[in-house]
Each structure stands twice: as C-alpha cells, then as structure tokens.
C-alpha cells in the first residue's frame, strides 16, 4: 500500500504538465471558440528550440527556456495573424478552422522532424536531483519545478485576467467577440496577444517534458489531446477548471496504469473524454 502515495504524486506531476497545455488551450479557446489543434505542435517547437539552444548554441539553461518560450509564442502568434485571423474575418466555420489548424500542426511537426530527426532526444541525459517527500514519495527537481510553475502561472493568469485592463478585455472578448468590438475593444489585437501567451505556455510545457522524459517530433498530438481532454473534463472555456481537469486526468491515468496495464492509456483518456462529452459536456464543475 505504500505505492499509492507515489502513484498519486506521479499523477500530480503528469497533471501539472497537462495543466500547462490545458491553460493555454483554454485561454485560446475562450477567445476564439475553436479547437486549435496546432497548440500541440507549439509544445514541440518549444521543447526542440530549447534543445537547439542547449546543444547547438551551447548556451545555458535560462536562455534555453526563455528562447524556447519566445519561439513557440512567436509562432503561435504568426499562425493567428496569417491563418486564423483571415479565416475569422471571413466568418469561416469552426470546422474550417479546425482543419486549417490540423494542416498547420502537420506541417510544423514535419518541419521539426526534418530539422532534428525523429530520434528520441532528451534535454537532460543522466541524473536528476532527487527530492524526498517526507518518505512517502520521491520526485525530481524538474518535476517539482513543473508543479510550482503551474501554480505560479495559474496565479499569474488569474491576477492578470481579473485585475488588468488587458484581462478585462480578454474576458469581454471571450464572452462575446462582436459586442466587445462594438464597445471599442481591439478584438483582433487582443486575440493575437492571447495566442501569444497561450502558445508560450504550450512551449513551456514542451520544455518541461523535454527535461522530464524527452522529446519526439510526434509527441504533440498526444499532448494536445490530453490538454483538450483536461479542458473538457474541467469545463471548457474556464481557464482554472482546466487545471483541475488536468490533475484529475493525470491521477486517473496513473491509477489506471497501476491497476491495469499501460498500453490502454490513450484509449482510457479518450474514453473519459467521450463520457464527459456525452454526459457532462460543460465539465465537472457546474458553471
């Protein structure tokens, strides 16, 4: 029975990573109301950019993280400006945006594979710092950082959205883009900035995963879907409920692997998604 604490801790760690992805995804969804599948690819961009900085430029950890985040934020912003915004202006349907984001995802993932090869690579080869949690469980330095990061980012976002003018504008756009525009809010610019932040968060998640396990060009889809599931389970559109959903997903997944075998992980996650979509599409919390 002493395994349970470690399994739960593992679940929370996985949840932290999913939460970062879900935060960004939810933020963007709230402002634009479509499923941006390219979100997953931005995590891959972030992780691999960090790899390039560390390995090819030889710069330090701090630079790797900062440049990785900036790169993914930038590319996300560009995707909005040149693809999503024009489509929104034409009143394209959600399905068109979804397919366009699919195209972007495919292209970005393939470009990464060309630049970095498809081999599994890690940002941290070898030993990590181990931290003992009062004898109940063990985590690494990276994992603890991931958890702390989510807390900090979550808090930061909360403060921004609640108290700054920008935040108020974002909430206005999320509630009703048309009305916001009429009232004088520069919707397009706000949405662009939202994508910037959301994509940066996705990149950060990718970097942390790169340190925790490693990077593969194809990891974006799986990550994105976890983020989507977390968002829906938590409550789509509500930024913080996504965090709760992410932790729930992480814990359920790890409990599932503990009791059953690992190879059904993705199927279990999707099963959860479908169940929620059927019976509780607004998420676990009644808004």
């Amino acid at each position: 029975m002493d395994i349970l604490p470690q399994v739960l801790v593992n679940g929370l760690i996985a949840g932290s990573l999913y939460a970062l992805v879900a935060l960004g995804f939810n933020l963007a969804y709230g402002a634009t109301k479509f499923f941006n599948l390219a979100h997953g690819a931005l995590s891959v961009v972030g992780g691999y950019t960090a790899l390039a900085v560390l390995r090819d430029l030889g710069w330090g950890l701090g630079w790797a993280i900062v440049i990785g985040i900036l790169m993914s934020a930038g590319i996300g912003w560009l995707l909005d400006k040149f693809i999503y915004l024009p489509l929104r202006k034409r009143k394209a349907s959600n399905m068109v945006l979804l397919v366009a984001s699919l195209g972007a995802f495919t292209a970005i993932q393939a470009i990464i594979a060309i630049l970095f090869t498809s081999q599994f690579q890690t940002l941290l080869a070898g030993e990590s710092k181990i931290i003992d949690l009062f004898g109940y469980a063990v985590v690494t330095g990276v994992q603890l950082s991931a958890f702390v990061t989510v807390a900090v980012v979550g808090l930061g976002l909360y403060l921004i959205l609640k108290f700054t003018r920008f935040g108020k504008a974002v909430r206005a756009v999320s509630d009703d883009g048309e009305v916001a525009r009429i009232v004088g809010i520069q919707t397009d610019k706000i949405v662009g900035t939202v994508f910037l932040i959301a994509s940066g968060l996705a990149g950060l998640a990718g970097i942390l995963i790169g340190f925790d396990t490693g990077l593969e060009p194809t990891m974006g889809m799986s990550l994105l879907l976890k983020g989507v599931i977390a968002s829906i389970v938590g409550g789509i559109g509500n930024v913080y409920c996504g965090i709760a959903g992410a932790f729930l997903l992480g814990i359920i997944e790890n409990l599932g692997v503990w009791q059953f075998s690992g190879e059904w992980k993705d199927a279990i996650a999707f099963g959860l998604l479908i169940i929620f979509l059927l019976f509780r599409p607004k998420g676990i919390f009644k808004n």
Binding site: I83, N94, L102, L273
Partner: protein, 288 residues
C-alpha cells in the same frame, strides 16, 4: 512500369476510401475523422481470415464489410449526439480506441508484429498475384463503389443527406428522421472503407496497426478536401494527386529521410491553403 502500376493501385485504394468518406463529410456535412478505423477493420478481417485459412478473399471481404458496418452503427450512435467540431473531436477518440484495440488485442491481431504473408485473392483458380491483374481487380471495385455512390447521392436518399448538411432542423421539420439517415450513411461509408482495407491487405501482403491511425484518417480527409467536398470525381482526383505528390518529391531529388517528412509538410500546407483560399476543393460544391 511496375512502379506506375504500384502507384495506380494505391491511388485506387485511396480513391475508394475518399469516396466513402465524402459521403459522410461532403454530402452529409459530418466531420468524421475516424475513417482509418474502418479501413483497418477490412484489412484485419482479410489479413486474419486469409492467413489462418478460415475464409477466402471474398468471404473475408464480406465479413470485413459487415463488421465495419456494425461497428459504425455503434460509433455512429454515440457520435450522433454531437455537432460540428465536437463531432470531429469525438471521432478522434473512436479512431484512437479502435487503434488501441488493433495494437493490444494481440491474440487476434498479433499487435505490433502485424500480419505478414497475406495472399492475393483468387477466383476460380486464377490468382491475382500479378500486380497488373490486381490493378484491374481494384479498378473494378472502384467502379462499383463509384457508381453505387453516384446512384445513392442522386437518389432521394441523397437529397435528404444534402438537406441534413444544409439545415438539419429544416429537414426534421419536413418529417425526416435525420438520425437514421446519418447513421445509415455512416455505416455505409464504413463498409466501403472496409473494401479498401481488404484490397490493401491483400496487395501489400503485410499489415500492422501503424497504418490505421488518426494520421491516416486526416490524410483521407485531406484527399477529399483537396479533390472537392461532395464530388465523387473529386475524391478520385484527390487520391491520385496526393499519392503522386510524394513520388514527385522523390524524383525532384529530396534525400530519402527528408522526402517522407516533406510530404507531410506539403499535406499540411495544402490543407491550410485550401482552407484559406478554396475550402470547397477542386471539384467541390460544398464547403463547411
């Protein structure tokens, strides 16, 4: 020459897949991204039954279509509760679940090992071992699927499908049970995909779960978007175009490692550009 025959056979198989998916996406307006699952069912039915000598190609074809159709009814039932992008998302889920089944029910499918040594079809002692004769067989199937679909979409049944696509509420007001129509076309398309699957398994002689992933479903979607939604002719054109594209890349001289990834880049760009500038595709008459 042999090479062209190989390309042609693949184009025909994906043409069949495209036509089937177009019935659901282009004609009925349901963004289904799980077609590869039914493709896989047909392929595995043929693979398993032929290598274990339980049935011949034609028997496995029939069984594959049946299983695909039944599975589609179940999946379709659940999917019918969703709209638009949620429908697409849920269909992702089903593709993933079916893929997990292919991968993990190793007693039946041999999982990641795949099923090697699948024989070619035989009829009255004649074996379609020659690639050219297989191409003829595949073309016959394509023609059958094409004319069947043409008849279906031009019939009154087809008109209801288009009505559902344009305005489901209105169709319901007119007394049509749209639920049954959507389910029926989804199931039919699945059976057509299974035909492609059986052909594929027998041609390549080896199948494994890696062919029947979400990626594959997305590729088939790209084929019909490119060729044109709600255009049967377009599905075939799209299949030919998207199968030829990587081969052209190979000849242009991209090194092997890069060529495969470049193909993905091109597909991705094609999708983005199509959505931006011609969402109905080449011959399409509908854009979502």
């Amino acid at each position: 020459m042999e090479y062209l025959i190989h390309i042609a056979i693949l184009a025909v198989i994906y043409g069949i897949l495209g036509i089937g998916l177009n019935l659901v996406v282009g004609f009925t307006g349901l963004l289904s991204v799980t077609h590869a699952a039914f493709f896989g069912i047909g392929a595995y039915a043929t693979g398993i039954l032929l290598t274990n000598h339980i049935a011949d190609f034609w028997g496995s074809l029939g069984l594959g279509m049946l299983i695909a159709a039944v599975l589609a009814l179940i999946i379709g039932l659940v999917l019918s509760r969703f709209r638009d992008d949620y429908y697409a998302l849920a269909s992702f889920g089903f593709n993933t679940i079916v893929f997990a089944l292919f991968l993990n029910l190793q007693d039946i499918t041999r999982g990641p090992l795949g099923i090697p040594g699948i024989p070619r079809p035989e009829i009255l002692g004649y074996s379609f071992g020659e690639n050219f004769s297989f191409l003829i067989l595949a073309l016959i199937f394509l023609a059958a699927v094409y004319f069947f679909s043409k008849w279906l979409t031009e019939s009154s049944f087809g008109r209801v499908l288009k009505a559902v696509r344009e305005d489901e509420r209105a169709a319901q007001v007119f007394g049509y049970n749209t639920f049954y129509f959507k389910l029926a076309i989804f199931s039919t398309a699945a059976a057509l995909a299974a035909i492609a699957g059986s052909l594929f398994a027998s041609y390549i002689t080896f199948i494994d779960p890696s062919t029947f992933t979400l990626h594959e479903s997305m590729f088939i979607l790209a084929v019909i978007i490119f060729g044109g939604l709600a255009s049967l002719r377009g599905s075939i054109v799209g299949a030919v175009a998207l199968i030829l594209l990587p081969e052209i890349l190979r000849f242009v001289g991209f090194p092997a490692e890069i060529a495969a990834q470049m193909r993905q880049v091109v597909y991705g760009l094609v999708l983005v550009l199509l959505m931006l500038y011609r969402p109905r595709g080449f011959f399409g008459e509908y854009k979502f």
